[in-house]
């Protein structure tokens, strides 16, 4: 099987994104140590990070902020999105539509290589004299423009990731449009395929805005222009020697034009996976398939007109502010439709509590909690109070960590037999699920309380010098130990993957799923199907098979 085969390329994508996920997790453990025990030395930190970053084992503030910026960047740009799109999408979409492969296989490989280059550049920037980017994953100017050289590498990396996303998205959408099996009409596409198409379109249309912003910021940093630097800007009471005349808010507009849809890029594939898992493991067809397709398309389109709710504190004026508050409230409608439809699908089903199903079921309340806690952030009066606090960190992580990641875990357990012809061990799987579920909540739930108490989310010492934060800071060690334990439970998952791939129970279609990918052998042969499939009805025919 060649690398241009979509299945092999998707596996390479998955392994690479998994490696970046591990890097992002380790960065998180380091910064969580600093928050739990501010100023306390980390054993062997000096040996690993050098005197420059961790003298006597104590993380310096400059290094801490590098960890924060790179944790966000790695997790979002290099881990979860490529895993959900290049990994899951690349493997499953051609199989689910009955195609022999991707429309442009070489373009896909090029996209992967660009992604890998960008990732290695961004991680490698830790070795630069000034270290990696340290202005947050949002890279707001003017801070990012006067930051160390790692920021330049970050910008180049983001630009390359935009190219990679474009290549992948073009390939995926063209494959779905032109390479569907006979009889596979648009309204017979599995819901997962719809979620991937909308995700690809979001990447295709939103990422160029961040690429343009990256070009502007690169010019500011390298050539000395002032796109984002206002006149009269002084740093440490010293006026900057720039012409000025620029506007820092321009970056925020361009950045969030991508970064808000990026949240849906993280979430929509997860919803697609959960929909497939729930239908198969509850033996029920998807409730109101047409409504769900409309909701996912609407959610994707609507997500492109809500970006400035991230900027409600910038003083944009009441008219504009009102517009974005209204659009933000409205975007919850299709989200609620999707979650409701998934819950109703369970009604009357013969639910099997497999590991995949447990993760999928856990996704629903976790995503719901992340969504509901987002509503106060979409309204200016409450945003004013909560914006700079840990509440935002908790909200976002509920969407992405126990949200998207749980869905990805569900997908791995569900489609593992398709990849290997073997089932994953259920006992180990349930241990992994229970541990992850409890510990994810142990890490992120206290963040809401800390945020409501007013603890600022940008403090190197966690807010140690603030009176109001004192009673909340006692949570930090528990959260950090929970993060360490969460890592330990992921070792169970990795062992399960390793063990099951060799000794797992042989299985062709253990869930008796009815979507097209299960009609071919497991693992699928090169070309996917021995005979071109003919599609005659809905992808979900569980009532028929049960009858």
């Amino acid at each position: 099987m060649r690398i241009t085969d979509h299945k092999r390329l998707a596996l390479v994508y998955g392994v690479t994104a998994g490696a970046f996920l591990l890097v992002g997790f380790l960065l998180m453990l380091l910064l969580r140590w600093q928050l739990a025990w501010p100023g306390q030395p980390i054993p062997i930190a000096t040996a690993i990070f050098g005197e420059r970053n961790a003298p006597a084992g104590i993380l310096l503030p400059e290094f801490y902020y590098q960890l924060v910026a790179m944790h966000g960047s790695v997790m979002i740009f290099l881990a979860v999105v490529p895993l959900a799109t290049g990994g899951f999408g690349g493997y499953l979409v051609p199989l689910q539509i009955g195609a022999r492969g991707l429309a442009f296989p070489r373009l896909s490989v090029a996209g992967y290589l660009v992604y890998l280059t960008a990732g290695l550049l961004m991680i490698g920037s830790f070795a630069l004299p000034g270290g990696a980017a340290n202005s947050g994953w949002t890279s707001y100017p003017p801070l990012s423009i006067i930051a160390s050289s790692g920021q330049t590498v970050w910008l180049v990396g983001v630009f390359l990731l935009g190219i990679s996303s474009m290549l992948g998205a073009v390939t995926l959408v063209a494959t779905v449009v032109a390479h569907r099996a006979r009889g596979m009409t648009l309204m017979r596409l599995p819901f997962f395929v719809w979620s991937q198409v909308v995700t690809a379109l979001l990447l295709l249309l939103a990422f160029p805005a961040l690429q343009a912003a990256a070009v502007f910021q690169l010019m500011d940093r390298v050539v000395g222009t002032s796109f984002f630097l206002p006149t009269g800007l002084a740093v440490s009471n010293t006026p900057l020697a720039v012409s000025g005349g620029g506007n820092p808010l321009l970056w925020q507009h361009l950045f969030w034009f991508l970064a808000h849809p990026e949240v849906y890029v993280l979430v929509l594939p997860a919803m697609g996976i959960v929909a497939e898992v729930i239908t198969a493991h509850a033996r029920r067809s998807l409730w109101r398939y047409g409504l769900m397709v409309g909701a996912v398309v609407g959610l994707g389109a609507w997500s492109m007109v809500v970006w400035a709710h991230h900027m409600l504190l910038t003083g944009m004026g009441t008219t504009l502010s009102s517009f974005f508050q209204v659009t933000t409230m409205a975007v919850s409608v299709p989200s609620v439709i999707l979650i409701t439809a998934l819950v109703v699908t369970l009604w009357g089903g013969a639910i099997r509590y497999t590991t995949a199903m447990c993760f999928a079921l856990a996704f629903l309340p976790m995503f719901g909690l992340g969504g509901v806690t987002g509503l106060p952030l979409g309204l200016a009066p409450t945003n004013l109070i909560l914006h700079d606090t840990y509440y935002v960190v908790g909200h976002f992580h509920y969407l992405v960590a126990p949200g998207s990641l749980f869905a990805l875990f569900a997908g791995v357990y569900h489609w593992f037999p398709k990849l290997t012809g073997r089932r994953m061990n259920e006992t180990l799987g349930l241990v992994h699920f229970v541990g992850s579920f409890v510990l994810m909540n142990a890490i992120f739930l206290p963040m809401f309380l800390m945020g409501l108490m007013g603890v600022n989310r940008r403090m190197y010492d966690g807010g140690l010098q603030y009176e109001l934060a004192q009673s909340a800071l006692r949570w930090n060690p528990y959260m950090t130990w929970s993060a360490v334990a969460l890592g330990a439970f992921q070792l169970v998952f990795l062992w399960n993957l390793h063990w099951s791939a060799r000794r797992g129970e042989p299985a062709e279609n253990p869930w008796r799923a009815t979507t097209l990918e299960w009609t071919t052998s497991s693992p699928p042969p090169p070309g996917n199907f021995a005979e071109p499939p003919l599609v005659t009805g809905s992808p979900y025919r569980y009532e028929e098979t049960e009858a």
């Binding site: 390939t171 494959t175 390479h179 295709l204 805005a209 690429q211 720039v242 620029g246």
Partner: protein, 200 residues
């Protein structure tokens, strides 16, 4: 399977995929150029004093001929590549040497000319103290027109590569269409810049 005249046989599915892929790529390109131009508009709209660098340097007389000549070049390339697509549609199996020179090397020539002229003008502005760091107006001009120059160079390279790869044969139609539409997007963005920078 359907085969068209020439060396390469392409299935209907591949043609359709290529067509969709072309439109998606161009949509992404439009969003990129659109974001650059939106940045310029926002900066200019929010500025009380806007500097126009070419009006204050000795070479200011060159800016309008530059804009005009480059518009003609880009339109010419669009027409040239469009003629290639037309030739394919009416079924010309092969082009003669001079025809290929016109249809394929025109974009390359345009790319080189456009870029050389842009570099020359940029150098003149920078030498007169109106480089990109001199003000947001100058910076916008350098970045936006520079982005077109990069796009033109990329188009020229692809045209040259296609001409070299398919020498003596007709290239696949989707490549011709992609090139044609690509040059049209570049021309549209260039005209937007001409209006946005020189006429408004």
């Amino acid at each position: 399977m359907t085969a068209h005249t020439g060396a390469t046989a392409v299935s209907d599915r591949d043609l359709r995929a290529a067509d969709v892929g072309t439109w998606l790529f161009l949509a992404s390109l439009v969003m990129f150029y659109g974001a650059l131009f939106s940045g310029y508009v926002l900066l200019r709209a929010g500025s009380t004093t806007w500097d126009t660098p070419w009006l204050t340097v000795t070479a200011s007389w060159r800016i309008f001929p530059f804009a005009l000549s480059q518009t003609i070049w880009l339109a010419g390339v669009g027409a040239g590549v469009g003629a290639s697509v037309w030739r394919w549609r009416v079924g010309y199996p092969r082009g003669s040497g001079p025809q290929r020179a016109i249809f394929w090397w025109l974009p390359v020539l345009a790319a080189v000319t456009f870029t050389a002229d842009w570099v020359n003008l940029a150098w003149t502005l920078a030498a007169a103290g109106r480089g990109p760091a001199s003000g947001v107006g100058a910076a916008s001009w350098f970045v936006l027109t520079g982005a077109v120059a990069v796009g033109v160079m990329a188009g020229g390279l692809v045209a040259a590569g296609t001409a070299w790869r398919y020498r003596g044969a007709t290239p696949p139609p989707h490549r011709l269409r992609l090139l044609q539409r690509y040059w049209m997007v570049l021309l549209a963005f260039w005209l937007t810049i001409v209006v946005g920078f020189y006429l408004v």
